[in-house]
């Protein structure tokens, strides 16, 4: 059970953060299909930064946590810059946002793979020394606890062998959700995505709101991308996150663009993802039998389940969908 919960958290946390990234963009009126591309970009800059810092000797294993915090900041910044490509095209040039997003989804892996190949002469960029769990995970020995002793369900599940990065992401998720709903800025952002003309007539700068929304979106998805590879891929960038960004898009739609539903949905999809990744060795109730493996349902089924569910839910709820009304439509003052 501990294993299942920890694995689920590892998948669910980046998923909810990136889905929230999609929400920020769409609520400001920009459709961000490039979540996947921004993830890939963030994962690359994060791993590259760690790699360089380790090589330069600026950080040792003892202060790995400050390295992690700094890397997360760098990732968010790089994602912010990358997202300017989307906001500039869709706000200033009134480009087709779907095509722009698709272009960024193609650009990011190409650029990342090009650079990784130049830097590392192979398709993978990893940490310069050590591995992710040794550096960035909470470990019993490092904190002076007895490694063989069991400290009870809660510490074992939610403290030891977890990544602090995940908890930072959860905190960010909560703070940003509050900002989106309880502050003046959040209201203005949502107004720009719902009815930009009304917002504009009340003195809200729609272009600025859309730049901010997309910027936050880029920062969050890059950060999420880094946390994803940190926790699931041993902190190595490959120019590929296997459709995780599109899964986040599905979470956003399934969660009806609302943070709380998104958190629940990403837990659900996280469980599917976790089952798909480890179902043959998953012992749910600890009786030594691998129940899911004995059921004989293919791992592929669990992998495609989130997409199918999303389509089905969309079909039933499309009539009362909460999708922002102006998302995807370039704001044109002269059109009423």
């Amino acid at each position: 059970m501990t294993f299942l919960i920890q694995q689920t958290i590892i998948y669910a946390v980046p998923l909810m953060l990136i889905a929230l990234a999609g929400v920020f963009a769409e609520r400001s009126g920009i459709v961000n299909l490039a979540l996947e591309g921004m993830m890939i970009f963030g994962a690359f800059t994060g791993v590259l930064f760690i790699n360089i810092m380790q090589k330069s000797g600026a950080f040792q294993k003892e202060n790995a946590m400050s390295l992690m915090l700094l890397t997360m900041l760098i990732c968010a910044l790089s994602g912010l810059i990358f997202s300017l490509l989307l906001s500039f095209a869709s706000v200033n040039l009134k480009a087709n946002q779907t095509v722009t997003g698709t272009a960024l989804n193609m650009l990011s892996p190409a650029l990342v793979l090009f650079l990784i190949n130049v830097i590392a002469n192979q398709n993978v960029l990893s940490m310069a020394e050590g591995d992710a769990s040794a550096w960035f995970m909470i470990r019993k020995q490092a904190l002076g606890f007895d490694a063989t002793k069991n400290y009870g369900f809660f510490p074992e599940t939610f403290f030891f062998k977890t990544y602090p990065a995940d908890y930072i992401c959860i905190a960010l998720f909560i703070i940003l959700s509050v900002i989106l709903y309880k502050t003046r800025f959040g209201l203005r952002l949502r107004a720009s995505g719902e009815n930009p003309h009304a917002a504009d007539s009340l003195g809200i700068n729609v272009s600025k709101m859309r730049y901010l929304g997309t910027g936050i979106s880029g920062a969050l998805s890059s950060l999420g991308g880094f946390v994803y590879v940190l926790t699931t891929a041993n902190c190595s960038a490959t120019g590929d996150v296997a459709g995780f960004g599109f899964l986040a898009l599905a979470v956003m739609i399934f969660g009806n663009w609302r943070p709380l539903s998104i958190a629940v949905t990403s837990l659900l999809f996280g469980v599917f993802k976790c089952i798909a990744a480890a179902y043959s060795t998953l012992d749910l109730n600890g009786d030594g039998r691998y129940l899911l493996a004995e059921l004989g349902i293919s791992t592929n089924f669990y992998r495609m389940l989130p997409y199918i569910i999303t389509l089905v839910v969309l079909a039933f709820t499309s009539k009362n969908s909460r999708a922002p009304k102006a998302a995807g439509i370039p704001y044109d003052k002269s059109k009423r």
């Binding site: 090009f114 599905a250 293919s298 389509l311």
Partner: protein, 394 residues
């Protein structure tokens, strides 16, 4: 019945503007790609500046590259194998380009070409590898091709139906169906007997159709382009481009599609059934993508990596720039498809001959897509300014 002439002004031709916009995108994309190469040469001590310049030359003229001479200098010239490979690689992306272009003309963004391509791949390979060998190979080829198209059409129908019936945005449902297809195809092949177990180290691949005696006829192309992979599939792709052109511009069906794409409200007002058009258009687009997959895998010398659940085929996404650059004109797609594959060939040359890698051409392709998302706007601005200047002179 509506008056067709009354709807025609919706469809006025913007040929010149879109051509200049496409050329602008291509030019800018290649320029930025070259700048990236030179920047890397400037900052990376392993790569000299002259090797950066060589890579730039290969981007521009890679299709005429003939390797290096004994002194280590790049040599250029007409290489028939490169041209043949260009045509071979162009075949599937012309088809996916047609698929995207046809959907665009109906006002739909078919981002699901990858999924349709994958289901087409699966159907083609299964049929080609399981039909009894007693049948003549041409009949089996034809069956495999048709089943590829059918599978693609079915897969395209899903987003079309969801859009028509439930008003679900086709972009979202295409993304979902893409990844469903990626997992489904992996699932189908995972424990099948189609995997290539007879050659060592090839179990990750599906048997090439040539093992069952099926490979697309070459029709003398092997004499024209010796030691290349080209086959008659390119003729089929060109034929389909012409068919799509005729359907779009010479039939009522295509006319109605284009009206729906230009102004869905006007189309509905005129009595065109937009829902039916949406489903049919996506089905046809899917059939084209699936057919592209068939042409690629039936060549006999290609092997399908079946564990595809982590990545979607590039051919599907490359259909988008192919269609955009041709401004969705089916005949233009033939040329933009060849252009895209010439970039791919150049990328291969860069990988083989320099310290750089083939992903630089993917960067250029992505940049071109990015630019073509708004180049039309810029093109219009330039035209408007020129017009103002001309009027100012008067």
């Amino acid at each position: 019945m509506y008056n067709r002439r009354a709807l025609s002004p919706l469809l006025k031709n913007e040929g010149m503007k879109s051509l200049s916009a496409s050329l602008l995108s291509i030019f800018t994309g290649i320029t930025v790609g070259c700048i990236i190469i030179l920047l890397v040469a400037a900052f990376d001590e392993k790569i000299t500046f002259s090797s950066g310049l060589e890579a730039v030359r290969l981007i521009l003229f890679g299709i005429f590259s003939k390797g290096r001479d004994t002194a280590g200098n790049l040599i250029f010239g007409f290489g028939s194998n490169n041209i043949g490979d260009l045509l071979f690689r162009a075949t599937p992306i012309i088809m996916t380009g047609l698929s995207v272009a046809f959907a665009f003309k109906t006002g739909l963004f078919n981002i699901g070409a990858s999924g349709q391509y994958l289901t087409g791949t699966a159907a083609t390979l299964i049929v080609a590898l399981s039909l009894p060998e007693a049948l003549p190979s041409f009949i089996r080829w034809l069956f495999a091709f048709l089943s590829g198209m059918t599978a693609g059409a079915l897969w395209g129908t899903v987003p079309g139906f969801l859009k028509a019936r439930f008003k679900i945005n086709e972009v979202i449902s295409c993304i979902m169906t893409n990844w469903i297809a990626a997992n489904l195809v992996t699932w189908i092949f995972e424990s099948s007997s189609f995997r290539n177990g007879s050659q060592s180290g090839k179990i990750g691949y599906i048997m090439p159709t040539s093992m069952k005696g099926i490979s697309t006829a070459k029709l003398g192309l092997e004499l024209l382009f010796p030691s290349s992979q080209v086959n008659a599939g390119i003729f089929v792709a060109v034929l389909f481009a012409i068919i799509v052109y005729v359907i779009l511009f010479k039939t009522i069906f295509g006319f109605e599609n284009r009206v729906c794409g230009s102004n869905a409200h006007a189309a509905e007002y005129a009595g065109i059934n937009g829902k039916r058009k949406t489903v049919l258009s996506m089905a046809f687009a899917g059939a084209l993508s699936g057919g592209g997959a068939s042409l690629y895998w039936l060549s006999g010398n290609t092997e399908f990596f079946w564990s595809t659940y982590q990545a979607l085929p590039q051919e599907g996404f490359n259909g988008i720039p192919v269609a955009l650059l041709a401004s969705n004109n089916p005949l233009g797609v033939i040329f933009t498809g060849c252009f895209m594959s010439s970039l791919e060939v150049a990328g291969q040359q860069i990988k083989d001959l320099t310290a750089y890698n083939e992903y630089i051409t993917d960067i250029i392709i992505a940049l071109i897509v990015y630019l073509s998302a708004f180049s039309f706007v810029i093109g219009q601005l330039v035209f408007a300014r020129k017009k103002r200047e001309r009027e100012g002179e008067k």
